[in-house]
Symmetry: C3
């Protein structure tokens, strides 16, 4: 796209959300609404962006690093909001400028491109993005003349009965010729007792100047959806969720029952992968084909190869090779890499570690800050002791090592290839390849001792 | 409220529920239906209560300790049921008495108060609580005269076509002048082949005596909802659940997706707290603001401060301060208190213990019957050994203690401030402040031992 | 049933499912669709079965071991598919043969029996199984004469406006007199440009020969439901799930909220058992009465006695006696048996073991390949060390044994009745009854050591 820019209206506070956060940072599928909008603009090829911020401007700025930001100190209406971006607009006087709401997350690159195309082909001063709703109550209705040109936006309160019956409504997103927008803004007058300036009044100004106003009606009414409160936000999440699930079903992902399944919009999932209920896939995940994920599993920023099984577990910022089995009830923390065919069983934590091919960490084990070779067997209850209270150290374990149960490997320590660590040993020194390392006391049986103790301690009748 | 009493009809058995429990003890959102009713009566200020019990009377009595109970030995209809409360009623002859069903849990204090107000302002002998249903099939229809006075209740079977079209129905809850009720009961006659006595016949009696019968129509039709079978009970739970979720959304709680989210009616949750799917909040919970609860978390009778994160964990009868992090996969058992900033990681059980500020219990640890200071670090696999097979003992741990991995602290034992417990040690005696305690065998490496063993044990080709 | 056979059309590939599997192996409630069909045939008493397979014939054959299979090498229509079974049909020339789709899983034994009865009573050459749909779009419409005899099937494309309005549609399942079917197949001609042979054309052939064609309309339209893609498969799962839940509700099972609850069609569950959300019950489970199962629990091929509590845990191919408590967060792996009153707490894995009556395995323990007596108490962190890297060995533990925390029992090993194993001990040799076994180093306290170390290691200001 050439000669285009956009102004994102992002000044709403979270009052009706009862949130400390600015409204546009309320999340849909784990992504702030304003990011949905900025990402759609980016995908449509619009690079020059200005966000009009209000309360919590710093937070919005942080969430939208690619945007210039301006501050709307008082909340005096959408027209007033855009006026704050005057300096941004002045520099782009010959562009077309898309003004849109930072809390209507479903605007799509396709809608942006198609509406711009209409805008330019009509040589319009303003082009409204509109949609037809089953129930248009509360929205501004679009009035068109016999040739389809927009003649006015009529607000609910001002609508005649005939006008109220119109189902095409204003989305709050508009293409402007920037030069026209600047002129129109300077002609805005406070529209009501509160002294607010309405951006919609630019339409009347254009018509009064004999300029053309176009309306691009989106075939997908969701592009105009926003949320004013938490119930509305829940509805947006629900709608987004259904869309994402539908896409994966079409791609051959098997979803037995969608209850509790939430998949971020950017997830990539291969065919023949089964998603069981209660699976939450946060942003940044790529999952191979033929996997079984869930039930009750949470993934974030992680890549899983083909044929993985992840059962009732959580994985963050990590990578699993092919045919890795995880769970139930395990936790892979950031910066971990489980190579092909690794098996991590129940009640295991892996953190900042590499686990080699076909290595087994079956149960009740902590592998942290470790580099583990292939075909290693961790006994139950093994701990890589990575922390001394001040610093963290690495444990290095070669290939084909067998670690006995309830062993401690106190890092920094290196266990050579083919070693055997005796169960119950606390290992403080390196072990050369193929050695046995043992650190434990000899067993002593004291006959009848337990019976005598029982006689002493048991409640007397 | 003055001069009021209530009779709860609670004699239904669980036959259609296929339950061993009395029907009124079937639960909606973890609370027996009869308790919903008794709590609404209490909230409306009605203190004089009588429950008419049948099968499982003892269980009902235990669930409704504030009620007198009388036994209906035979099931001879609602009129017969109320007659069992005659002695209770005789003592309150000048009161107004609310007779209502113990299995219609959604009666509200507001409905009780508003209907009493109407009852008294009409000087009615009987005032029915009614509601209008989309589909009134099966319910008794309310007939009113031109001035709105109730003239009769017509049962489905007896209704003419016009009468069947009436959508206002009888709820089964009635205000009576108690004196009138006693008289009317004595005039009830068996209404059918089964010899049952119907409370609805008191309406006809009142009309025949020229007494006024009022009808208070509830704006919320749910007040009359009950359940006859498990599918109906599921529907009641579903309805109650939606109401509770709606309330929390209005309060600024974020619910991403409501699947598997069940919140008891008495929960208090601060704004900006996020509830993830699969979260079950049982009765008695108070949760601060800015928390993240879930997914797949269960809380019961617990209080959580602001900014807590509880991930895939369970907490019972305990208290978390502010900014406590718990999980994934941890379990806080009764009588525990995790102070501000405590971090309890994966696969940890805390029971009947205090965990001090900023103390970390990161993984695979059991802290039971312990008093733990601030800034303590528990190594992975640490166990507070609280049980000797006969008694439980406490472990006392000071501030700034560092406990090595897989250590056992055998209670009763006291670990002084600033101690270090070496990994793999079993501690049986007190450790003075700032000391190291160690109990382990020295490591021995036997070169080539593991290779030789492998050669001996490995399957020969 | 006498003189009956069936041909299952199972040659569809998974292309629209985007699956590597043959379409008929796509699963509904954990069971391949073709198995639903074969099980319904078996329940209806039809023993002579032939499956026409295409891609992945070996997989289909393995899933339907009771069926003869024939291969349809080219996909030339349903008529061509049945022709591949000619040899099977020739041997049963005097039978009635049911031809049906392997991907319409809800065909019922009742529908099979009732349609056969009509088929025979009408002396029909062909009897269609039909159903009436709200929206018949896309299906072949059933034309009947004034006496109700089927005169034709009209495909959507060929239907007049009147015909398109007919809501009775062809299910794709038909009873044939086998002799007639063989003759009709030999008269089929390629029906379209692709050269496909349609089985529906046999109806026209029968009519043209003056033979009777009957239509049995199923009262339950679900019998004709199939799925072409993953979204359709999700809908089938959803429908099947609702049916199964409804059945259990009728049986007195309490389902608080059905979110995430998936119960295989063959599950048996006693009354007064509560199923909490997120509970997945895979095939082969029998659950007693008065249990509480869930939340977030998965069971497979397991039997649970009355009064069990299974909280956020997984059980596979195992057996629990009465009043067993499990969880939260535990895992019972195949071949385990937990006897009456056993308590298995959080973060415990049981595998291929027997756990005796009232034995307690409270936390962070692995019991594998073990035979454990009654009233045993496992300390936290105990491990039965069953694997030496090459072989697995059994641990035998008598009654009334008390095992200290973080102990290792290195199998093969036998612990006699009444023994006490000291915490932190690694046990390598048998322990006679009533003895104490201990294997640990003596505790040493080094005063001030920890303080000095702290001074050395702590970051200097």
């Amino acid at each position: 796209m050439q000669n285009v820019c956009a102004v994102i209206l992002a000044a709403g506070d979270g009052k009706r959300m009862k949130s400390q956060k600015p409204k546009v940072l309320c999340e849909v599928l784990f992504r702030p609404m304003a990011r949905w909008v900025a990402d759609a603009l980016s995908a449509a090829g619009i690079r020059e962006l200005c966000a009009v911020c209000g309360a919590g401007a710093g937070l919005v700025q942080a969430a939208l690093p690619e945007c210039e930001t301006v501050l709307q100190e008082k909340r005096l209406g959408t027209g007033h909001a855009v006026t704050q971006a005057r300096a941004f607009l002045e520099r782009r006087r010959d562009d077309d400028c898309l003004v849109l709401c930072g809390d209507a997350p479903f605007i799509s690159p396709e809608a942006i491109a198609a509406s711009l195309k209409l805008h330019r082909s009509c040589d319009a001063a303003v082009t409204l993005i509109t949609a037809s709703l089953e129930d248009p109550t509360g929205y501004g209705r679009i009035l068109r003349d016999s040739e389809g040109r927009v003649t006015a936006i009529v607000e609910q309160a001002d609508a005649s009965e005939d006008e109220a019956a119109i189902r095409e409504v204003n989305s709050g997103a508009y293409w402007f010729r920037t030069g026209f927008l600047l002129e129109a803004l300077s002609h805005l007058a406070p529209a009501n007792a509160q002294g607010e300036y309405y951006l919609t009044d630019t339409v009347g100004w254009a018509v009064s100047q004999g300029l053309s106003v176009a309306g691009w009606r989106s075939p997908d009414a969701d592009v105009i959806r926003g949320a004013n409160d938490r119930a509305g936000l829940l509805a947006l999440n629900e709608a987004a969720r259904r869309r994402v699930l539908q896409k994966h079903l079409q791609n051959g992902v098997e979803i037995l029952v969608s209850d509790g399944v939430i998949i971020a919009a950017d997830a990539v999932i291969g065919p023949d992968t089964v998603i069981l209920p209660g699976t939450v896939i946060k942003p940044g995940c790529v999952i191979g084909s033929g996997c079984v994920i869930g039930p009750n599993t949470m993934l974030e920023q992680s890549v899983l190869g083909d044929g993985c099984i992840v059962n009732a577990s959580q994985i963050e910022f990590s990578k699993l090779g092919a045919r890795v089995k995880l769970g139930p009830f395990s936790h892979v923390r950031p910066n971990s890499c489980l190579l092909d065919g690794a098996k991590v069983g129940n009640f295991v934590e892996i953190k900042n570690s590499t686990v080699g091919e076909k290595t087994a960490v079956a149960h009740l084990t902590y592998v942290g800050d470790s580099d583990v070779g292939a075909r290693v067997n961790f006994g139950c209850g093994t701990v890589t002791v990575n922390y001394d209270g001040f610093h963290k150290y690495r444990t290095v374990i070669g290939d084909d090592v067998f670690i006995g149960c309830n062993a401690n490997l106190i890092a920094p320590v290196t266990i050579g290839d083919g070693c055997l660590i005796a169960a119950g040993s606390t290992i403080t020194e390196d072990v050369p390849a193929d050695a046995l390392a043992i650190a434990r006391a000899r067993q002593l049986n004291r006959p009848d001792w337990a019976r005598q103790r029982r006689a002493r301690l048991a409640p007397k009748e």
